[in-house]
C-alpha cells in the first residue's frame, strides 16, 4: 500500500512537472528597437492587403474603418470594441505577456502609454513617418505620446477641460456662472441652500478628475525620468485644490453620485447635478446619455485658481498605438495614420469627436459649429481656447493605471469619513511609492 502511494505521487509529480514545463516556456519576447518602414513599404502593404485587428472603444472609428476598407479593398479592419477601461488594459496586458492574440492597433488613454512603452510593449512609430507629424498635433497630446524622439502612437482625441453647467438651474436661483474655484464654492453653497436636493457637482472620488484639477492648479505630483520616479502631493499648488475641495466635501455640497452610473445621468437630466468639469469629448455623451436636458446646458471656461488665470488641463483623451507584437505593422500604421492624421479626422470630428490636430482646432468651420444641445452655443471656441492653455509639462506615472485603481481605497476615505483630503492624497502617494518600489522603480518621495 505504502509503495503504491509513493508511485502514485511519483506519477503525479511527473505530470505536474510536465505541466509546469509547458507553462514556463511562454513569455520572454522582446520587440524593441526602432524599425524603419518607408512610405513605399506601407503602400506595398496596402496593395497586398490583409487584416488589421483594432482594439478600440472609440465609436467614431466605425465609419473610419468602413471608409478605409472602401479605399483599400484588400484590407480588412477587424474592429473589436466591446472592452473599455480596466477590462481593455487587462486583456491587452494578458495578450502581451502571453505573446498571443495581440491586436495590430490598440487604443490607449494618454495616462497608460508610459506603462506600455516602458515594458517595450509598443512599437516606436518614428521610423514609420510619425516623427514628421509633430506639428500636426497640439502640444499636450503630442507630449503624451512621445518620449524623447520616440513616438509611441498618434493622438486620437483630446480632452481640454471646460465647465458644463445647467443654465436653467443657475438662472432659476440667480446664481452667476463661477469663473474661479472660490466663486464655484460660493455658488455651491447658494445652490444647495436654495434647493437641498440640488448639488453643484457630483463627486465620489475620481482619480482622473483629481489629477486633472491638480494639473490645472499647477501641481506636478509626478516626475518621471526613465525608471526614476518622484511622487509628491505636498506642494503648495496641490493645497489650492485640497482647500477648496475639502470645504465642498465637509459642507456636503457634492452629490454622492458616481459618474457614468444611472443615477448620474438622471442627476444631469433633472437639475440635481448642476455642473460638470470635464474634457471636451463630453458633448456626444450628453446627447446620447441625457437627451431630455437638451437646451438646458451651456459650456463655460473651467474656473480658475486665481482671478484672470487662464491655465487649463486635459482630462482623458487617447491615442492609437501599434503593439510591438503586432503582426502587420506597416498596415497597422497605415490605418492609424489614416484615422488620426489623415482623412479619418474630419469624419470623426463630424461625428462629435474632439480632435487633437491643430488644423481642425483652427478651422473656422469647426470653431463656428453650433451645438443645438447647448442652445446653439459655439462650444468649440471655448474648448479650443482651453486646449491652447494646457500646460504641457505634466506627466503621469509609468504605472498610472494601477495607481488609479487604488485611488478610492486611499483618497476615497476622505469622501466617506473624517479623513482629510490631504491625508488621503498622502496615503495614495505612499501606496503608489510602495508599488513603484516593488516594481523596481527608483522612487523618490
Amino acid at each position: 500500500m505504502r509503495r503504491r502511494t509513493s508511485r502514485l505521487l511519483g506519477g503525479i509529480a511527473l505530470v505536474t512537472s510536465l505541466a509546469l514545463g509547458a507553462t514556463a516556456c511562454g513569455g520572454s519576447d522582446d520587440g524593441a528597437g526602432t524599425e524603419s518602414v518607408s512610405a513605399e513599404d506601407i503602400q506595398a502593404a496596402l496593395d497586398k492587403g490583409g487584416t488589421v485587428t483594432v482594439w478600440s472603444w472609440e465609436p467614431t472609428l466605425k465609419t473610419v474603418a468602413a471608409d478605409f476598407q472602401k479605399k483599400h479593398p484588400k484590407v480588412k479592419i477587424n474592429l473589436v470594441s466591446e472592452r473599455s477601461g480596466d477590462k481593455h488594459y487587462t486583456a491587452l496586458s494578458n495578450a502581451i505577456s502571453a505573446g498571443k492574440g495581440v491586436p495590430d492597433v490598440a487604443q490607449l488613454e494618454y495616462f497608460s502609454i508610459g506603462q506600455y512603452s516602458l515594458t517595450k510593449g509598443l512599437t516606436d512609430l518614428s521610423g514609420f513617418g510619425a516623427d514628421k507629424l509633430a506639428s500636426t498635433y497640439t502640444p499636450g497630446p503630442w507630449n503624451a505620446v512621445t518620449e524623447g524622439d520616440k513616438v509611441y502612437g498618434l493622438p486620437m482625441d483630446s480632452g481640454p477641460m471646460a465647465l458644463f453647467y445647467n443654465k436653467q438651474v443657475f438662472d432659476k436661483y440667480k446664481i452667476a456662472v463661477p469663473t474661479t474655484w472660490d466663486e464655484y464654492l460660493d455658488a455651491a453653497r447658494k445652490l444647495h441652500k436654495a434647493d437641498p436636493k440640488a448639488y453643484i457637482a457630483n463627486d465620489t472620488g475620481d482619480a482622473g478628475f483629481t489629477t486633472s484639477l491638480l494639473w490645472q492648479a499647477g501641481s506636478r505630483p509626478y516626475k518621471v525620468d526613465g525608471t526614476n520616479v518622484k511622487i509628491d502631493f505636498g506642494d503648495a499648488n496641490a493645497k489650492k485644490f485640497t482647500d477648496v475641495w475639502q470645504k465642498l466635501i465637509d459642507e456636503k455640497l457634492l452629490a454622492p453620485v458616481t459618474s457614468w452610473t444611472d443615477d448620474w445621468y438622471k442627476g444631469l437630466g433633472d437639475g440635481t447635478i448642476a455642473t460638470l468639469s470635464t474634457g471636451a469629448w463630453m458633448p456626444a455623451n450628453f446627447e446620447s446619455g441625457v437627451p431630455n436636458a437638451s437646451g438646458q446646458w451651456r459650456v463655460a471656461p473651467l474656473p480658475a485658481w486665481a482671478k484672470g488665470d487662464k491655465a487649463s488641463a486635459e482630462n482623458g483623451g487617447s491615442a492609437l498605438t501599434v503593439p510591438s507584437l503586432a503582426k502587420n505593422k506597416a498596415l497597422a500604421y497605415a490605418f492609424v495614420e489614416y484615422a488620426n492624421s489623415g482623412e479619418g479626422v474630419a469624419s470623426r470630428v463630424s461625428e462629435g469627436a474632439f480632435p487633437a490636430t491643430r488644423a481642425e482646432l483652427k478651422s473656422p468651420e469647426f470653431l463656428g459649429k453650433e451645438f443645438p444641445y447647448f442652445g446653439g452655443q459655439k462650444a468649440n471656441e471655448i474648448f479650443a481656447d482651453s486646449a491652447a492653455n494646457v500646460a504641457d509639462d505634466w506627466s503621469y506615472l509609468p504605472f498610472q493605471a494601477y495607481a488609479n485603481s487604488i485611488f478610492n481605497d486611499t483618497v476615497g476615505k476622505a469622501y466617506i469619513s473624517g479623513t482629510r483630503l490631504e491625508d488621503g492624497l498622502k496615503a495614495w502617494q505612499d501606496a503608489s511609492v510602495k508599488y513603484g518600489e516593488e516594481q523596481g522603480f527608483t522612487v523618490e518621495k
Binding site: 506519477g11 476615497g412 466617506i416
Partner: protein, 308 residues
C-alpha cells in the same frame, strides 16, 4: 470462525516472487490512471504551479527573478491582507450562525408536519439559491439605493431617513444580508433531507414516552443531523473566506466603502489583474488556502468528536 484459519496455515509458504506484485500494481494503474491523470492536471498542477509562481517576483523593471520565500515574508507582514482576513472573519462569526440558525429553524418547521403548504414554502425558500449570485447582488444593489432604489422610495414614501446600506459602516452587514438570503434555502435543504432519514420509530417511541416536541428536537433530531450541521458549517466557513462576488459587484455602487482589498479573494484578484503582481497574488492565495484548510479541519475535528 475456524474458516479463517487457512491463510494462517499458508504462512510457512515462501513469499510470492516480487515480479508478480509488480504486475499486479500495474493493473491497478490501468484503473486509477484516467482519474489520476485528470486529477493531476486539473487539481494538483494548478496548486503546484501557484506554489512555483509564489517563489518568483515579476517586476515592470527588471523582469522575473527567483526570490525564494520573500513573497511569504512580505505577505505575513502585509497589513492589507490581514485587514481583509479580519473582515471576512468578522463576517464569518456573525453571518454564518444567523444563516444556519434560520435554515435550521425552517428545516425543523417543515419537518414538523404542522405546516400548511409545505412544498410551497420549501420551494420558495430554496428559490433564491437558484438565482445566480451575480443577479442576486445586482438586484439587492438596486434595492439598497438611497436615491432611486427601494430604500430611497421607502424614505420618500414614509418620510423616513433609513441609513444608507452601502455606507462604510453598514456595507458588510448588507453583504451578509445578501449572502444569507441566497444560502438559507440551500442549507435548509441539507438539514431537511438529513431530518427526513431519521427513522419514524424513534418519534413513535418518544411519543409513547410522552416527550414534548422540544424534547424530540433536542434529543432526537439535532443529534441525528449533527453530521449535516458540521458539513453545512464547513461549507459556510469556506464560502465566507472566499467572499468575492458580492463585494466586487457592489463596488461600483460603493467605491469608497468597498476597497479593492476588501476580502482576501478580492485582494488577490486586484493584485493579479490591476497590479499585474501574479506572483505575490499566488502567495496570498496559498496562505489563504492554508488558513481556510486549518479552520475547516479544526471545525470538522471538533464537530465530529462531540458527535461520537
Amino acid at each position: 470462525m475456524t474458516t479463517l484459519q487457512p491463510p494462517a496455515a499458508a504462512e510457512p509458504r515462501p513469499a510470492p516472487p516480487p515480479v508478480r506484485r509488480d504486475r499486479r500494481s500495474w493493473k491497478g494503474w490501468g484503473f486509477i490512471g484516467p482519474f489520476a491523470a485528470v486529477f493531476a492536471l486539473v487539481f494538483l498542477a494548478p496548486i503546484a504551479y501557484s506554489i512555483y509562481l509564489s517563489l518568483f517576483r515579476d517586476q515592470l523593471i527588471g523582469g522575473t527573478t527567483f526570490v525564494g520565500l520573500e513573497n511569504y515574508q512580505q505577505a505575513i507582514k502585509d497589513e492589507l491582507f490581514w485587514a481583509s482576513l479580519g473582515r471576512v472573519a468578522l463576517f464569518l462569526v456573525i453571518q454564518v450562525p444567523i444563516m444556519l440558525g434560520i435554515a435550521l429553524l425552517v428545516a425543523l418547521a417543515l419537518d414538523s408536519g404542522r405546516l400548511y403548504g409545505k412544498s410551497f414554502f420549501r420551494i420558495t425558500i430554496f428559490l433564491p439559491y437558484a438565482v445566480p449570485a451575480v443577479v442576486a447582488t445586482l438586484m439587492w444593489g438596486f434595492m439598497y439605493g438611497t436615491k432611486y432604489g427601494l430604500v430611497g422610495d421607502v424614505n420618500s414614501a414614509f418620510g423616513w431617513s433609513l441609513p444608507d446600506p452601502l455606507s462604510a459602516d453598514l456595507v458588510l452587514a448588507s453583504i451578509g444580508n445578501i449572502v444569507t438570503w441566497e444560502f438559507v434555502g440551500y442549507n435548509m435543504l441539507i438539514f431537511y433531507s438529513a431530518l427526513r432519514v431519521v427513522p419514524h420509530s424513534l418519534y413513535e417511541a418518544a411519543e409513547i414516552d410522552g416527550a414534548s416536541q422540544w424534547r424530540v428536537i433536542t434529543a432526537i433530531k439535532l443529534p441525528a443531523i449533527r453530521g449535516a450541521l458540521v458539513i453545512a458549517t464547513i461549507f459556510s466557513i469556506i464560502g465566507s473566506f472566499q467572499l468575492f462576488n458580492e463585494p466586487s459587484i457592489l463596488r461600483p455602487l460603493a467605491r469608497n466603502a468597498i476597497t479593492t482589498d476588501y476580502t482576501p479573494n478580492f485582494y488577490t484578484y486586484s493584485l493579479s489583474f490591476s497590479g499585474q503582481q501574479h506572483n505575490y497574488s499566488a502567495t496570498v492565495a496559498i496562505i489563504m488556502g492554508l488558513i481556510t484548510m486549518v479552520v475547516a479541519y479544526v471545525v470538522q475535528l471538533r464537530g465530529m468528536r462531540k458527535g461520537a
